[in-house]
């Protein structure tokens, strides 16, 4: 990776509050192309909120946030900021894949229709072409034979893999994972993590909010420990996990490891 590459995600002093409660208190982070960054931390630490800011599901209240060299939610002209139109925001979101804790598959559509929906409706791909690609995506997550199943007929792990295929079908340049395995039965977690590992190995840029320490250690390039809206510790996963420097990181890890 060259040192001058534009970061895929760059955050400088990002602030976010809901009413009076300050959720993000100045986040500075950088994710390089091809990097897999894992966000770790207790619930309420702001890691999911930060993830949702990246594709503008949440609007930031302060600081600056760039994705692939472009400001999130705004356009800069001279020293003035202009808010983006809804259609422009939608176009940028289409380039970022997101996987949710509770899958959020569309229950009234089959697995393959879930995957083919956005390419046809957002990118204008012909339906036949989109179905062919959707089948490939499902094969990539090991679910080619369940293409015709409705979400309710799939296990949680299968649903989450379909959700990953749905995001990949848009050929995103960045994938966001919001606790992708937290709602799964323990024996189903492995399949989903395996798909994510392969994705990481293929060079996908990924920001992953997770409690899976093993995944963070093996597949992650960097690890961020967040607590109470700030980045407490940042570094290569092994370093942070084995030799945490901050007391809060130590206390958290001693409880989850």
């Amino acid at each position: 990776m060259s040192a001058v590459a534009t970061p895929m995600v760059e955050a400088r002093g990002v602030l976010k509050h809901y009413g009076r409660s300050q959720v993000l208190k100045g986040i500075d982070l950088e994710v390089l192309p091809g990097e897999v960054m894992c966000l770790l931390g207790p619930s309420g630490s702001g890691k999911s909120t930060f993830l949702r800011c990246i594709n503008h599901l949440e609007r930031i209240d302060g600081g600056e946030l760039w994705v692939d060299g472009e400001l999130v939610g705004y356009r800069q002209h001279g020293d003035k900021l202009y808010e983006l139109k809804e259609s422009e925001i939608a176009r940028k979101r289409a380039e970022i894949g997101m996987v949710f804790q509770r899958f959020n598959l569309f229950p009234h559509m089959t697995a393959i229709d879930n995957v083919a929906l956005a390419p046809t409706r957002v990118k204008g791909v012909q339906r036949e072409q989109a179905l062919v690609e959707a089948r490939e995506m499902l094969a990539r997550v090991g679910l080619a034979e369940r293409a015709g199943a409705y979400p309710a007929q799939l296990s949680g792990g299968q649903q989450q893999r379909v959700a990953i295929a749905r995001a990949l079908a848009m050929h995103p340049k960045l994938m966001l994972f919001d606790e992708p395995t937290s709602a799964l039965d323990p024996e189903l977690v492995g399949d989903v993590l395996e798909v994510m590992r392969r994705l990481a190995a293929d060079g996908m840029t990924m920001v992953v909010v997770t409690h899976e320490i093993g995944f963070a250690r093996e597949a992650g390039d960097s690890l961020v420990f967040m607590d109470d809206g700030v980045v407490v510790e940042y570094g290569p996963p092994r370093e942070v996990l084995e030799n945490p420097r901050q007391e809060r990181t130590k206390a958290f890890l001693s409880r989850v490891l």
């Binding site: 979101r93 289409a94 409706r121």
Partner: protein
């Protein structure tokens, strides 16, 4: 059945109060029937004579047409208003709020009369350049708003306000994560609404819409006040001539009951259709429910005897 298991044999719970209440209901019912047959001066021959008369059947057709058209208008308006209500544009959502406030806040009877008498304040209506500019099409209100249009406007616009609330509740029932997932994929607000949210809202929207249709069938009788010959007004026209008031009201009621029954059955199957996959419990129809409970305490007993 697992090998060695015996079916449960138990004396069912006795329900003495059911027999007491059943006896009371039977006495009242018998008394009502007896008085109707012997004391009331009700001419059943007149009822039979007019039940299928041309004027009544024509009126019935008008009632059914009004119900269908007004409901269609109400549903379309309701969806549009509900989507407008949720718009981030405050003017658009404000317009929706105002519409619902106005049309739900005044009696439908008043609205029917209003449309009917509109010609008295606006003798001439037209489409053209606003503020008195040249007009493209126009004409006398009396010609453009005959009673049938006044009836459809009165019922349809009012229904739109109620349907808007029903659709809004339906949209609100869809999990927020659905909208988020659609947004994250880059779908626009309208695409999200049409492809993702509304199809899932149907399960919540359909049952009350069935209720509204049944209600509309009966509410359409209000149209009689603007002298439009639907079922009730047709009956009124006949009893104005022959003074067989109650008989003709019975005729009209029989038709209303017949079609609400048909609609109720239709609603039950629609509900079952939209509930599939979402719940293991399928609601029994009311008749099914009554019969199930009537015979429930007998079945285990007879099985025990066998």
């Amino acid at each position: 059945m697992t090998h060695g298991s015996e079916p449960v044999k138990a004396v069912p719970v006795r329900h003495p109060w059911r027999w007491v209440t059943a006896a009371l209901v039977a006495v009242f019912a018998a008394n009502a029937l007896w008085s109707l047959a012997t004391e009331a001066r009700l001419d059943w021959d007149v009822v039979g004579e007019y039940l299928f008369s041309e004027q009544i059947v024509d009126g019935l057709m008008v009632t059914l047409m009004l119900t269908a058209v007004a409901m269609l208008m109400g549903i379309v308006l309701g969806v549009v208003l509900a989507v407008m209500w949720l718009s981030p544009n405050p003017l658009v959502s404000g317009a929706s709020w105002f519409y619902i406030w106005l049309f739900r806040g005044t009696p439908v009877l008043v609205q029917l009369l209003f449309w009917f008498f509109l010609a008295s304040i606006y003798p001439h209506v037209s489409i053209g350049i606003p503020f008195g500019g040249p007009e493209l099409v126009g004409g006398s209100s009396k010609d453009l708003i005959p009673p049938i249009v006044a009836a459809i406007f009165g019922l349809g616009f009012n229904e739109g306000a109620y349907m808007a609330e029903i659709v809004r509740a339906g949209i609100g029932s869809v999990d927020e994560g659905q909208e988020e997932a659609a947004k994250a994929l880059g779908l626009s607000r309208m695409q999200t609404m049409r492809r993702i949210v509304l199809p899932q809202a149907m399960r919540v929207i359909v049952p009350p819409t069935g209720n509204e249709t049944i209600s509309m069938l009966k509410t359409s009788s209000l149209v009689s006040v603007i002298a439009y010959a639907e079922l009730l007004y047709s009956a009124q026209l006949i009893y104005a001539r022959n003074y067989k008031t109650i008989e003709l009201l019975v005729v009209a009621s029989i038709w209303y009951l017949a079609f609400t029954t048909v609609l109720t059955v239709g609603q039950y199957y629609l509900e079952r259709y939209f509930a599939r996959g979402s719940s293991r419990y399928v609601p029994p129809s009311r008749i099914e429910y009554v019969f199930r409970n009537l015979f429930r305490h007998r079945r285990p007993a007879s099985e025990g005897e066998a």
